[in-house]
Amino acid sequence: MSMDRRDFLKIAGITGLLGAGVAAVSGKMPGILEAAVTSPNSNALKAKQWAMVIDMRKFKTQDDYKKVIHACHSIHNIPEFGNPKDEIKWIWTDKFEHTFVGQEHEHISEAVKEKPFVLLCNHCEKPACVRVCPTKATFKRNDGIVMMDYHRCIGCRFCMAACPFGARSFNYRDPRPFIKDNNPKYPTRMKGVVEKCTFCVERLDEGLMPACVEACKDTKALVFGDVGDPASEVRKVLKDNFTIRRKPELGTSPSVYYIVGGGENAG
């Protein structure tokens, strides 16, 4: 593109005016403008405390797990490094004894022992990660979701030391070359910041359920809703079933509940 002196001055002038305009607007703001929603979607889903019930009885085949994990990892631009050292994961599976540390015993049913359990960020009501973060880069929203600001995170990894659930991943290297199918609608991350599941805030804002929940909506293996609303579906499921949470003794009050099921759920 060639540009003569006249064009250059025009562009420079417009840029200057824009700059002055922005400065004038932001000058009126009290303090620093931290974030803004330009046009709130009226369909946005709201809650006092979002929560999830994971019904392990409904996970029967390998495919049941795969579609849930794929739904999340594909839209959130999760890189695949192929090694556990750099691994980034938002939702994954592990054995019962690793999911519910200390709850296993020698004579546990074979079905439960071998079954993969679904793990993700617990969006704790009293999150240790938020407590330790020195910049508020990880914070709790009013709807209970524990969020990350990738632009503020300094990469100190204090949150990773604090999280008792191993829910957080760190970008030990530039993730972008390792993203298989880039989803342009969701931001990619840079090296040196921490990330994790966000209960799909970007989808809730559009009135959609989290991607993992939608992926298994036919079986209702994942039930998502407002635990603060007595009429919600999660509350009904919690009322009708025996559920447990991971490491409740630590006082973080996880918002992810599990229906473990018995021997009938041999996968």
Binding site: K85, P134, K136, A137, R152, R157, F158, A162, G166, K247
Partner: protein, 389 residues
């Protein structure tokens, strides 16, 4: 006084050049880390802190130990420490400098460092650690420089410096207490979740720092005309002895609580560190080396005959320094991550790049220490080391 640092022997300059070379290699490796990310280190999703944070933790202890000279000198008027108190303060400056550099080296996004100040978060212990460490650096620079300048002019230190000297006492305790709180307040990390974390940190600090100071005093006497004094060194040795015995006692208490209560979570990290866990035990030889060297050195320190022999004392002081370094500069931080939150084990070993960066920072600390000690000793050689009251 800075000019004193520029007037040195050939040996002095060779040492400076050597340190600069180590720093240069470290810097080159840091550039590599800056480009690629922390993936150049041995850290992983499971072991998310490694050598850097461990060195930081250890060096906070070394820094805090200056108070072991300040208290006898300024609260008990123990005059023998008058000559060497500046060596403790300057060691603290060097150690805190390294602490801050190790934190920066560990950040994934070091350019955003100022976010800690731009978005101050008093609920985070790291925020307070930033405040106490920088404050301690400032206090020691101020006190060290002012008292040394007064000594050079053969006048008593100005009266306004006294409050800062007294302030440095609780402040020294605070830097290690706050650093212990980084660990001791985390749910789910059993090795760290102990009320005696801060006392343990202080005990090991008051063993490791003064033992390094003994070595430095002996070195200073050898290579300069300034003699820190045999009695001062002996007193330091007694401080090291008591502190190390308390440190070992505290470790034994951790063992008792974990193993007598028989709670698996509490036992697991100690099992990993000292006996191996689920077939993993990379650190077992190191931890036992730490225990054996530590106990043997305490033996040499308790016995007056061996303690008063300065050759053996040097050996014992080095032993304490190494034993506490293995315990805190490796075991404590790595052990906190093993087993991980899923009760499985991911081992950690530092990469060459990581070690080179760490050595570079140690070399920066040594450079700061060398220059400061050169200045202090030049002044002492002029004045005969006697301060004016």
């Amino acid at each position: 006084m800075l000019d004193k640092a520029l007037d040195g022997s050939k040996k002095y300059w060779t040492w400076i050049l050597f340190l600069l070379a180590v720093i240069g290699v470290g810097m080159a490796n840091y550039m590599k880390q800056y480009e690629y990310g922390l993936g150049v280190t041995g850290m992983s999703r499971d072991i998310s802190w490694g050598v850097y944070i461990a060195q930081f933790t250890y060096l906070v202890g070394v820094a805090a130990s200056a108070v072991m000279l300040i208290i006898p000198k300024y609260l008990h008027d123990y005059k023998k420490f008058g000559k060497i108190v500046i060596l403790g303060e300057f060691l603290a400056i060097s150690a805190v400098t390294m602490c801050l550099l190790f934190i920066v080296a560990d950040l994934g996004q070091p350019m955003r460092l100022m976010n800690v100040i731009l978005y101050p978060t008093p609920g985070s212990i790291l925020f307070w650690d930033m405040i106490v460490l920088n404050g301690y650096l400032f206090i020691n620079l101020l006190v060290g420089w002012t008292t040394l300048a007064a000594e050079r002019k053969q006048v008593p230190p100005p009266a306004w410096i006294k409050p800062f000297i007294y302030l440095s006492i609780p402040w020294a305790v605070s830097i290690h207490t706050v650093t212990a709180f980084l660990y001791a307040g985390l749910p789910g990390r059993h090795l760290w979740l102990t009320a005696i974390m801060a006392p343990r940190f202080l005990a090991s600090a008051f063993a490791s720092g003064p033992s390094l100071l003994i070595l430095l005093c002996l070195l200073v006497r050898k290579i300069s005309k300034f003699d820190p004094g045999k009695e001062a060194i002996q007193t330091l040795a007694k401080i090291v002895t008591y502190a190390m015995i308390i440190n070992i006692f505290f470790l034994a208490m951790e063992f008792f609580t974990a193993f007598y209560s028989n709670i698996p979570g509490h036992m697991a990290p100690l099992q990993y560190l000292f006996f191996g866990f689920h077939g993993h035990g990379n650190l077992v030889p190191f931890m036992w080396a730490s225990v054996i060297i530590g106990i043997a050195s305490v033996g040499l320190l308790i016995n007056p005959a061996t303690r008063q022999n300065e050759k053996i004392l040097a050996f014992a002081a080095a032993g304490i320094f190494i034993a506490t370094w293995i315990d805190k500069g490796i075991g404590l931080v790595i052990g906190g991550f093993i087993p991980n939150m899923f009760e499985t084990v991911t081992e950690y070993s530092a990469t060459g790049t990581e070690i080179s960066i760490a050595l570079g920072i140690w070399a920066i600390g040594a450079l700061v220490l060398t220059v400061l000690y050169k200045i202090a000793i030049s002044v002492k050689e002029e004045t005969g080391g006697e301060e004016v009251h």
